[in-house]
Amino acid sequence: MQLKRVLTLRTVVATSAGLTLASSSFVAATMVANFVLGDAAWIAILIGGGLCFLAAACFSELNGMLPSAAGIRLYFSRAFNEQVSLVVSLLYMLIVVVGVVGVESFIVSQVLHEAMPLVPPYFWIVAMLLLVTALNLRGVKMAGVFQDLVTYTLIAILVGLGIFALYKTGFKLNAPLSPGGAVGIVNAVALGVFLFVGFEWVTPLVEEVTQTKQIYRGMMIALGILSVVYAVFTTAMTAAVPKDVLMVAPAPQLVLARTVLGGLGASVMIVVILFTSMKTFNAGLISVSRFMYASAREHVLPAIFSKISMRYFTPWVAIITLFFIGLLAAAMTSLTKNYMVLVGLAAAMESIVYTMAGLAVISLRRREPERERPYLIKGGYLVPGVTVVVFAILAVAVLASDPTALLYMAGAFLLAFVYVKTAVPHLKKKHEARRTTSRRRRRPTRAMVEVEGERGK
């Protein structure tokens, strides 16, 4: 059966790479560079990218066998149980969005404040959140071709600037294979994973492509492109600018652009940062508001979140709630200036989700061996097994190196767990009672008809 509108591989790649390329990625890239010696950051980045290939393989198998926009919500409920799936989905949405909004808004506000010092940074945060919220409320989405154009232009600018910076500084690899101690490398790789955060958010598009294999091809191509982009750009940043300068800069990409190309480079980079952050905000708000709406519709969040705009067909309560959550996250980040903790938190959460994706592949192969798998990872349990071990170690490494992130993670987990154990059963029970009284179910089932027939005889 052929659908009228289908997405191309180009759009799948652009979506996967576009969701991943955020302004905050370069903060994480700087942190990666700081954990390793000399100019060896590219090693950690390529390892991080390589590990994400393992996770991508697990997502591809899950997505092929359970092709649904519900994504991890469906995979984990089938592989584990409903409660585990809910706790992880709620945490995933909350932490990744709060983390990304917090860091992105901080970066953009600092960059714009630097360009226009008279305007306070928080003004930019409020303005940007208001704009994205208004766009979401009106249901405005970036057209596919425009989105592709923005993402591929961004990639071209980053690679071009990176290569030019390497050329201009006469870059030579001093110690190409000497990244330093094991602890530094593990932490660098764990944060390197953050650079690729969101590549798997393309899996909900499975219902818009002709063949599910386009999704895993797209994910793999996007990861390959991103690995090269980040490796080149991060190496260029550390070659052209001292690491201690990069570490204190909220937008290290801007520092590189200014160092290499002067005022013009800085202006272009400010535009790039604005576009990147708006794109990230918008994608995050769309995904999470739809998730909140769907959760309210299945009675795991209060029904108020399923309220929709009669004019624009958008879940306005969920969108406005997210606006305030974003505002709070941005305010906290602006006050504490501790945006690094959010990067660590999001990296740890992603690592946990990737660990669970590996476990889900193993579990579902045992629970549902007969189910058709358009994409089956070769090598038996090796890839999912390695995914589980590696990402579990990375999650522990990130949380162990940042006690604040550990504290936030523990608090959020406890909150989600208590919510799922207490509030969700209450909401479900309330709905069930209402459903029983208003059930419209028409005719008796065939079995009942037969019983009635027997009685009549």
Binding site: A69, E208, R290, R297, E298, F313, R441
Partner: protein, 117 residues
């Protein structure tokens, strides 16, 4: 398991409710779509044509649909009678909808407006 007639009855009920709702018709006047509804366990295929805010149901398959909705017969009947929200079977993998994410969400919005929570 529901029969073909039961699914048809549920879809007719849904169609009637849609066409009797002036607000819904107005809201969807520009959303022209073809939706195919297919049961996976019985031989039952229906198509909806939504054109200029008016919904028409017909039996059988239409080419080039914008959305395809497939599930076991019992789930289809339950969903289109409004006894369960589409999201519940969708999230547990029982109901499969193929099409753009926006169209899928719109279809759920319509169910919500017809049947309530």
């Amino acid at each position: 398991m529901a029969t073909h007639e039961e699914i048809k009855e549920a879809l007719e009920d849904f169609t009637e409710n849609f066409n009797n709702n002036e607000r819904l018709k107005l809201m969807n006047k520009d959303w022209n779509r073809v939706v195919v509804i297919k049961a996976t366990d019985v031989d039952s295929v229906h198509s909806w044509i939504l054109q200029d805010g008016h919904l028409t149901l017909q039996e059988g398959f239409l080419d080039d649909p914008d959305l395809t909705v497939s599930a076991d017969s019992e789930t289809l009947a339950d969903v289109f009678y409004g006894d369960v929200t589409p999201i519940e079977p969708y999230n547990d993998g029982t109901l499969r909808i193929i099409g753009s994410e926006d169209d899928i969400t719109r279809l759920d919005f319509i169910c919500l407006m017809i049947w309530g929570e």
